[in-house]
């Protein structure tokens, strides 16, 4: 009843102030909560590139450009996936599916955001950052959404490259080029993606099945997915040790180990199939905090 009441209240508010409803729907299209994590990786990579605290203006323009870029990519993704979103419980209330925003308008909005992001990043940071953000959009929309998502169980592994671009954008915004440290940060996000997304897929297996999306648990089952979550968590943990070997400080090493061991423990509980707690959900939610905190440790270590 509470949810019904909220829906009625929201609808009434939209009728009273239609402009606010449209603005809220446009913001919803950009998926702000997902972008917030991407921006954490972007800004912390800027600290690592600077080996200190970057200029506040540079951070501001990079964050704005990064939001526009990721928001545009997310909007175009919802335009392409509107048929899938309509049959999944998690996404059936999105603005395009419900008709609150027309598909054509959403596509135009998404493309406009991407163009704006390139201009903001190009003119106010560096053109390498602008180019990299555009590559991220193309990977997300072209490689992941249009090709891999509906055709292979490896969709989120290869598609994870798109989500790993933001640290490169942050790094390039500061230095105008890419060093080995930037590649390591890219790799960390890349190998973090499979255990993160497959934990989520375990929670939404039925939705993905009904939508015909060949996520790993749909095709190979839950136990096979749990094994892969554990194995990829080990790859991820090993990869997070590499920055220390490459020259990062002890602060980073301690942070990577302290944050990574609980991740491995949760993945282990998930793999064992322990029923005492919902380990897929716990692993998924921890993975979000894990990535954000790990990048904060990267920034702190670089600035210290």
């Amino acid at each position: 009843m509470d949810r019904l009441g909220d829906a009625v209240s929201t609808a009434a508010a939209d009728v009273a102030t239609p402009g606010r409803g449209i603005v809220r729907d446009l913001i919803t299209l950009t998926k702000p909560r997902i972008i917030s994590l991407l921006l954490v990786t972007t800004v912390c990579a800027m600290f690592a590139a600077q080996q200190g605290v970057p200029s506040g203006w540079l951070i501001l323009w990079t964050v704005i450009g990064g939001y526009l870029s990721a928001g545009g990519a997310n909007t175009i993704n919802q335009y392409v996936d509107r048929d899938i979103d309509a049959v999944m419980g998690r996404t059936e209330r999105r603005p395009i599916v419900t008709g609150r925003i027309s598909a054509g308008a959403a596509l135009a909005f998404g493309v406009g955001l991407v163009i704006a992001s390139v201009l903001v990043l190009g003119f106010l940071t560096t053109w390498l950052a602008a180019g990299l953000s555009l590559v991220g959009v193309l990977l997300y929309v072209g490689l992941y959404t249009l090709w891999l998502k509906r055709t292979t169980i490896h969709n989120i592994v290869i598609g994870g490259a798109a989500g790993a671009i933001p640290p490169l954008v942050g790094w390039a915004a500061v230095t105008g080029d890419l060093a080995f440290g930037a590649v390591l940060l890219f790799a960390i996000v890349f190998v973090w993606t499979p255990p993160h997304f497959w934990a989520l897929a375990l929670m939404l297996e039925r939705d993905y099945d009904e939508a015909g999306v060949p996520m790993l648990p749909v095709v190979y089952g839950e136990q096979a997915t749990r094994v892969q979550v554990l194995l990829w968590s080990v790859v991820m943990f090993g990869t997070t040790l590499l920055p220390y070997a490459a020259g990062a400080g002890v602060t980073y090493l301690v942070g990577a180990v302290v944050l990574g061991l609980p991740f491995l423990w949760m993945a282990g509980k998930l793999w064992r199939g322990d029923r005492d707690r919902p380990w897929a959900a716990i692993t998924f939610h921890y993975s979000l905090a894990y990535l954000a905190l790990l990048f904060v440790v990267v920034a702190v270590d670089a600035a210290a």
């Binding site: 891999l148 055709t151 292979t152 490896h154 592994v157 290869i158 080995f180 590649v183 390591l184 790799a187 890349f190 190998v191 060949p214 095709v219 190979y220 096979a224 094994v227 892969q228 194995l231 990829w232 080990v234 790859v235 943990f237 090993g238 990869t239 040790l241 590499l242 220390y244 070997a245 490459a246 020259g247 090493l253």
Partner: protein, 63 residues
């Protein structure tokens, strides 16, 4: 110390990487949707080759 950490990282990345390829390779036969193809093999092997290359690169630049 950095060398010890690099060796631990290498063991974890290479060991788990090989286990991923082995486990996923074995599961290719009963694939329910879509046929196994060269592209699928590429998607399976490529990320792990990149991880191993990253370990080697780290060893190269290690201070």
């Amino acid at each position: 110390m950095r060398l010890v950490v690099l060796i631990i990282a290498a063991v974890l990345v290479v060991g788990a990487g090989l286990a991923i390829i082995r486990s996923m390779w074995g599961m290719r036969a009963p694939l329910a949707r879509g046929a196994t193809s060269g592209t699928e093999t590429l998607w399976l092997v490529l990320p792990l080759l990149m991880s191993v290359a990253l370990v080697a690169w780290t060893a190269w630049v290690m201070p």
